[in-house]
């Protein structure tokens, strides 16, 4: 799978931010397998870009294509097919089910299109230090723990693109490193692309391309 951006301009962003951007209003191509680091300060549209790529928001001009398909006219049904097989995401605001257990939060994603066996959840949770939290309610976990839950959840399905929106904002150095290693391993298994958007450069992320928004 490839993703193409053709002159994408958020309709809410001021002109100066668009003019100086290496992404907005440009033609870009994201290929399968490459690791891309998007670095930008707050308010430059990082989350918006990730949401545009995942198809959650459509408040932009220009077009985004999954392979040869323009996603502008995709409905929820059409997106679901791509999200089950080709795209996975860690949201900046995590989007977990707060009233359900950690395991339920991860398992619901795995059940949709399992890439790993059920045992793998415990193994990943153990690696990221949240194994003891699997049976507790998600809302009782700290934000840092919730970030790790969201990361484990994103790794349960097959994907060609892993979209990460400030996934380590509440993690300490040690946990950041572990989480990055896990995600790079998992993306190698699938020969997948990682698009990581963050405020500053993540030193553990082995990226081929760096883009300033």
């Amino acid at each position: 799978m490839q993703i193409f951006l053709r002159q994408v301009r958020p309709i809410f962003l001021e002109e100066s931010k668009i003019t100086n951007s290496e992404v907005w209003d440009k033609t870009l191509q994201f290929n399968k397998g490459e690791h891309l680091h998007i670095i930008a300060p707050s308010g430059s549209g990082k989350t918006s870009l990730i949401h545009f790529l995942y198809g959650i928001r459509k408040d932009y001009t220009g077009s985004i294509l999954y392979d040869s398909f323009d996603i502008t006219n995709f409905d929820a049904g059409r997106f679901s097919g791509w999200r089950q097989k080709h795209l996975s995401i860690v949201f900046q605001d995590l989007r977990l089910f707060p009233e359900h257990s950690v395991l339920q939060n991860i398992e619901i994603k795995r059940s949709l299109n399992p890439f790993h066996s059920e045992n793998k959840i415990a193994e990943m949770a153990d690696r990221l230090g949240i194994a003891s939290k699997l049976d507790v309610k998600c809302s009782t976990c700290s934000y840092g723990e919730q970030q790790r839950i969201a990361i484990v959840r994103a790794l349960q399905q097959p994907f060609d693109f892993l979209l990460l929106d400030e996934p380590f904002s509440h993690l300490d150095e040690n946990n950041r490193q572990k989480a990055m290693e896990l995600m790079e391993e998992e993306s190698s298994l699938r020969n997948a692309t990682i698009i990581l958007a963050d405020l500053r450069e993540i030193e553990y992320f082995k990226h081929e391309r760096k883009v300033h928004l």
Binding site: A76, G77, F79, Q84, F97, I108
Partner: protein, 394 residues
């Protein structure tokens, strides 16, 4: 974990009134039962009245006249060729033939043997409509003898009234041997014909003469070539067909009510059964609407979770199908329970009729099972479409 309704059920709100859901189930069950029962009763009704409406000779013959009311009294109430064509074109009327009457004065007397004289009317109709047509029911121009087919009812009336007038009662055989003198009043004086009753008709209450005689006489004695009929005989497979009765009533036509008695009873009962059926349908619709409120409430209360499921990659189609499947056993049970109740009802009704000597099938008609299945499928499709629509809106 296998992906099914159990996967998503923890993410759907269960903080909803069970009562409204149970009421909608109960309502649906009652509605389906009433609807199925009405259809079964409709079929029973047709079955029970079939024997009574089947004509012995394979067809019913009915005399149709225009209804005389205070409004149309004194106006021309005869049938034009267009009126007759309209009758012929109805699917429930096999054939229609006008009865032409005499357009000149006729008097009949029986000579010295029976001192009886009366003004008379003559009519002619297509021979295919007469139940008894002997070979000698023929007339040719110049012939003085005119054959007559006489109504059995008229003969019966004569025999009732004869003794009080000192007239002899007559048997069918004697009647045919009586020479009747037909005095036809023409512009050129009275012209006499010798008439003889060649047959009696149970079907047609009239004094029938050959068609060519009346046409000739009307032209030569009455000066009228084209005579409009004042009544028409129709041939129909079922005189009790409600469509026929409706047609006649809506066109201001009158028939012998006794012949269409069962048809009228059937029509009223069909109306009652249709009314009950419509009520059943209304209950079904209201139940589905009530259940749709329940679904809307459930989806609204689970909105955040459902939105997130869609974001994670669950398709609205899959969610719609899966959530609909959840109620499949419930709806199947409701349909089967209603069907079972109809079977019990039919059994009880059959036993009740058997005591009154009426025959009816103990089994429900196949169309009832088909309707139950159709209602079940309809409920499932309605629910699926609603859930999918609501999910698409999230």
């Amino acid at each position: 974990m296998k992906l099914n309704f159990a996967t998503i059920v923890p993410f759907l709100s269960n903080d909803l009134s069970k009562r409204s859901r149970l009421i909608s189930y109960l309502g649906l069950g009652i509605g389906v039962f009433i609807l199925l029962c009405s259809l079964q009763m409709y079929i029973n009704l047709n079955e029970l009245l079939k024997d009574k409406s089947a004509p012995k000779a394979g067809a019913d013959f009915l005399s149709v006249t225009k209804l005389i009311t205070n409004e149309n009294m004194g106006k021309n109430n005869s049938f034009s060729p267009a009126d007759i064509n309209l009758l012929k074109n109805q699917p429930f009327i096999e054939a229609a033939a006008p009865l032409i009457s005499n357009q000149f004065r006729v008097k009949a007397s029986a000579g010295n043997i029976i001192p009886f004289s009366t003004d008379l009317f003559l009519e002619s109709v297509d021979e295919a409509f007469i139940d008894t047509v002997p070979p000698d029911f023929k007339w040719e121009q110049g012939q003085v003898d005119v054959p007559i087919i006489f109504s059995s009812d008229f003969m019966e009336m004569y025999n009732v009234f004869a003794p009080s007038q000192d007239l002899p009662q007559l048997s069918e055989k004697t009647m045919s041997s009586v020479n009747i003198i037909l005095e036809c009043y023409t512009p050129f004086g009275v012209k006499n014909f010798r008439a003889r009753i060649v047959a009696l008709s149970d079907r047609i209450n009239s004094v029938l003469v050959p068609h060519n005689f009346l046409t000739w006489a009307n032209k030569n004695f009455g000066g009228v070539s084209n005579v409009n009929a004042s009544r028409v005989y129709i041939k129909t497979k079922d005189a009790n067909n409600p469509d026929l009765i409706n047609f006649l009533e809506s066109n201001g036509l009158r028939v012998n009510k006794d012949k269409t008695k069962f048809g009228r009873v059937k029509k009223v009962l069909q109306g009652v059964v249709t009314g009950i059926g419509s009520f059943g349908l209304l209950v079904v619709i209201l139940s589905l609407v009530l259940f749709s409120f329940y679904l809307q409430l459930m989806i609204a209360k689970s909105k955040d979770n459902l939105q997130l499921l869609l974001l994670l990659g669950f398709s609205p189609q899959w969610l719609g199908k899966t959530m609909t499947k959840k109620w499949l056993p419930v709806y199947a049970f409701i349909s089967l329970a209603a069907l079972l109740c109809v079977c019990i009802f039919q059994f009880a009704f059959q036993r009740f009729l058997a005591q009154a000597g009426q025959q009816l099938s103990i089994w429900v008609h196949w169309s009832i099972i088909l309707l139950a299945m159709a209602l079940f499928v309809l409920s499932m499709i309605t629910n699926y479409r609603l859930i999918r629509k609501l999910l698409m809106r999230l």
